[in-house]
């Protein structure tokens, strides 16, 4: 198998790894949850 043909297969794996890296570094918030976070912060400060 030549390099470019093989690249399709390991390229898929590489994409999945890059994606995982990006997601690990992302802060994901969802509506409703931030209110609970804010309440917790207020409680911990208080």
């Amino acid at each position: 198998m030549d390099f470019l043909t093989g690249m399709a297969y390991w390229g898929i794996i590489l994409l999945a790894i890059i994606n995982a890296f990006i997601v690990f570094r992302m802060k994901v918030k969802i509506a409703g949850e931030e209110d609970e976070d804010e309440k917790k912060n207020v409680c911990s400060v208080g």
Partner: protein
Amino acid sequence: MEYLAKNWAVLVIMIFYVAFCLGIGQWFKKRASENVDAFYVAKREIPGWAIALAFFSTFISTNTYIGQAGFSFQAGLSWAWVGVYWTGFCMISWLLLGPRMRSQTAKLKSVTIPDYFDYRYKSSFSKVIRIFSAVIIIFATLWYMAAIAKGCAHLLTSTLGIPYAWGAFLIIFITTLYSVMGGMYSVLWTDALQGIIMFFVAILMVMVPAMYVGGWGPLMDGIAHTTHLTAKGQPMGDGLMTFCTLVSFAYITSIGFAVGMKQIAEPRCLIRFYSVDNAKSMKFAMIATPILLGVSLACVFGLGALVHGMTTDTEAAYLVKHTDQVVGFMLDKFGNPWVTGIVMAGLFAAGMSSFAAVSIIVGTAFVGDIWTLFKPMSQAKQVSSTKWLMWVYSAIIFIITLYPPAGIVELTAFSGAVFAAGFFPAVFGGLYLRWGTGKGVFWSMIIGIGTTLLWRFGLRFYLPGMKDIHEVIPGFIVSLIAYLIISKLTSGDMPDKEHLDHVFHTQES
């Protein structure tokens, strides 16, 4: 008795599989009927791992496991490049759309894609957009569902000898039954089960040629220099293992975009984001879905090329012109009833998961986005009407499946282009651009779908060198540009600041 002796393994696996799907429907029957939120989006309480599996199994259909896998018999191992595109679009879908869509739809109390357009854009055009997009969903998915039912019915005929009409009836009836019983709960949980089956079946399938010839070494040596001929009668030589010798990269790119883009535009995929239960689940699904999809595609997309190692010159000469039969041939030649039974379950899982997902999308679009606008009704009545509508729609699908129009598979691919051109700018702009307007959405839908039609029926096959450029590409680009320009020109149609602040308040960073 002879029939049972021959097919008992396949029958046992299929009976267990169907019983499990119906059991899930029965389990969630009461919970799904509580209110619209429960039936339409499973109360946004499904864990990320189940959503990841459901997204994967919904996007992939029988066509991938049979049609695309078989096509590499003709195209060689380079065909896996299509999988690279699809995995890339899966990443884009989850990274760009997933978290924001989940957040905004919860804030807006949106339970369908058309009602998201209505609530998000709050425009004088909102109701028109909502009805128009629901109509697109209803008509564009008709052919897709019939194509899936047709494929599954043919599978039942070829493997179990069940007459085509009965096979179509069984597939449509069973899938609709569990979808109606448990609403989005049963659709998502059966999709998750089907996703698990499909993932392992993809791995099992790619191992079959290697097991048949006695290992990966002999298999790869066998296909590296084959005496088989291409569909045009030329010797394949080392073409199966060299880059784009047997298929053009333009064609690979065309299919990669045409089908891959469905993940960023089709309601059956986008609606999955609505049901994720929390941010932690969302992150998990964002990582897991491209892995599930990518690994499966890496296994499936080169399968046909590997089957060359199992075939004689005469068999290859036939299969290269009938690539849809490659997977069936492989299973027949391998001759292990358990492997055949498990793979069959995977193929039905691929078909049924997509069918169920679309079935509930159509029901909710018709009742939630059209019917209730003209005749408001209670939540209980809306849920029961959606169930009845799903049955009626399934009956129509059954009739179309019995008398499928010529070129139904092409119609299916075309409907994907319609969604990409019609829905993506509205979704993306709604999630990211505060200045996007309802008028921008409406005209981008009209112009995008118009361009798609024009390219498909007026230009693609008449302009030299354009044959490999799928209509999704010009349709998508023109639609996106139209959305941006018209939104800028119609800034007076923007929702008020308070509404936009509410919608855009919390986003991922």
